[in-house]
Amino acid sequence: MAADGGMHAEHGPRFAERAPDALNNPQLRRNFRRAMDGLMAKRAAQFPDPAYWAELRERGAAVKARALAKLPDLLERLESRLTANGVQVHWAETTEEANAIVLGILQQAGARTVIKGKSMVSEEMHLNAHLERHGIEAVESDLGEYIIQLAGETPSHIVMPCIHKNKDEISDLFAEKIPGLERTGDVDELTAAARRVLRERFANADAGISGVNFAVAETGTLVLIENEGNGRLSTTLPPLHIAVTGIEKVVEYLDDIPPLLALLPRSATGQPITTYVNMISGPRKAGEKDGPTAVHLVLLDAGRSRVYQDVELADTLRCIRCAACMNHCPVYTRVGGHTYNAIYPGPIGKILTPQLQGLDAAGDQPHASTLCNACAEVCPVKIPIPDLLVRLRREAVRPTETPATHLPPLYSTVVKDGGAERSWTESLVWAGWRLVYTRPLLYRMVTRALAWGGNWVPADAPLMRDWTKARAKPRFKPRTLHDLARERGYLNEVPK
């Protein structure tokens, strides 16, 4: 069904199977630890006053929540404003459709080479690979994206895509891939080398492709933020600009932008503002000397409208992709972005990926969390990530049916592939657990039996195996906690 389309399920080893490799890679762990410590400290320095932080994020969350409450209306307004401004708007239900639209625009313009600004949505589409299959070369121009493109890798972080690599690794890579460049440990030299190569690419590109941070319905304005200037170049120098964005990026008013801009770079990299904030409201007008003569916007659904059906889960769509949640996540910091095997890693990915790809493909992701709440504390738009993780864990075993009142019924379960993680063994264990814990006599008998014979049960006994795979089997003491408490005179009574 078309509505279920979207990202390809990235099947393959699951999180728990991939994690040990990352955990046992000291270089990778040092790279991430160092980077995350730095990012956390820089962010904290940007919000010294807790009262102001609380006020600002309350505003940011409200702006996004209000926009979501009016989402269909705002998308229509955005479309009509952009169209009036001369921007061509396209809609795609799936990433395949979005790829076809982008390819069609490029082919019609006769474009052979494309320069790209950073865009997570284009990663979601696997756009570069798609264009390459059709003979169009797409070069990433964000330095981090360029590095991982050279290395043939995928981003490991949504803001700093090559954060998993250190200087030495990048230096080796450049010496190998950039003709005439000696190996150098000097970051300025490495940066200058990338500038030289990419300048030519910019000058010769037939089209530029970018993402969008915010789309303003009121004015038909696409807001893009960045530090390098590659985003401005991609959207100004080539004769054609194609922007791709998820449908959740729309906000109502231009006045909504300042609070979001006050939150995003501070939360992301600990900067008060990015070097460039680029607000694009149309193609080159008659008489103007630069800027693309054609601008297109591709609005991508890819599962987002389904996320929108559930009022609680729809909070996921408030995300402004700042990455603060991953920077502060104790799990992400230890395993890095690639372990998630998903476009969006870390806490936001753990709630977004299962909803977009389905619980069959990614139902393990919500479990890759300690529910420590660090993500919720730093999220600038107050997404209750741990609550949503728990909700998705539940949806994976006991799915919410789409309400019968919901006509026409779009899907059978609220979350795609709801119930995919259901297992008889687990249900059995929990049924047993409930039985024992609600019958004091039975409880006493079972604990006594375990105290007496529990240590003889082998660690790899059926039912036990799944638990002991990654944990030591507990040792049972001969006397239960209840016995010990009673002996010390604690009374099993509610004090009056």
Partner: protein, 221 residues
Amino acid sequence: MSAASNTARANILGRLKAAPGRPGPDLAPWTPPTYTDKLVRFRQMAEANHAEIHDVTAETWPARLATILNNRGVGRLMVAPGTPRGDALLRAAAQGVPLPTLVPYDQPVEVLKDALVHRVDAGLTGTRGAIAETGTLILWPTAEEPRLLSLLPPLHIAVLEEDTLHDTLAAVVRDQGWAAGMPTNALLISGPSKTSDIEQTLAYGVHGPKELIILLIRKGE
């Protein structure tokens, strides 16, 4: 829009409209900061962004700029004829102020691309004002003063008048009624182009200018 895109549009909007309604929250109150001395704040933040600020006067800034650029060995400076700043420099050069060679941005980028990409050392623009909170310049490029002038040359010089300082972006968007008419491209610039993609080490000039010089025209001087 193609037929496929039309179908997609109808399906997406259909699904969104079929979803349960939810109340939009009232916007929480938020008071953006104000500064008793905007200039002090601007200076501090702009310098933290790695911009270099020179205090100048409305009359003598071209001569001052000539000194700054000669000290740096800038050979070719691109300017925008038909703008107050560009014309002031062209006049000054004609009157013998020892400015670098002035290259006018007076043709479409298609004609000037090679010069812009490879053969100018600096570009000069005016500004619409600045934001004290973040040390940010506001530029609305125009037909006369194109977008790439502040982006392609390795050194960007921006002329800013002291009395166009605002507290915050929120204040300037609201006070000037930006929503009533946005230009093709509105820009906020805070320092030179930079990256920290390699081991979080800052490096300047990765794609845009390596340096940003702000000529600050003091009021009443």
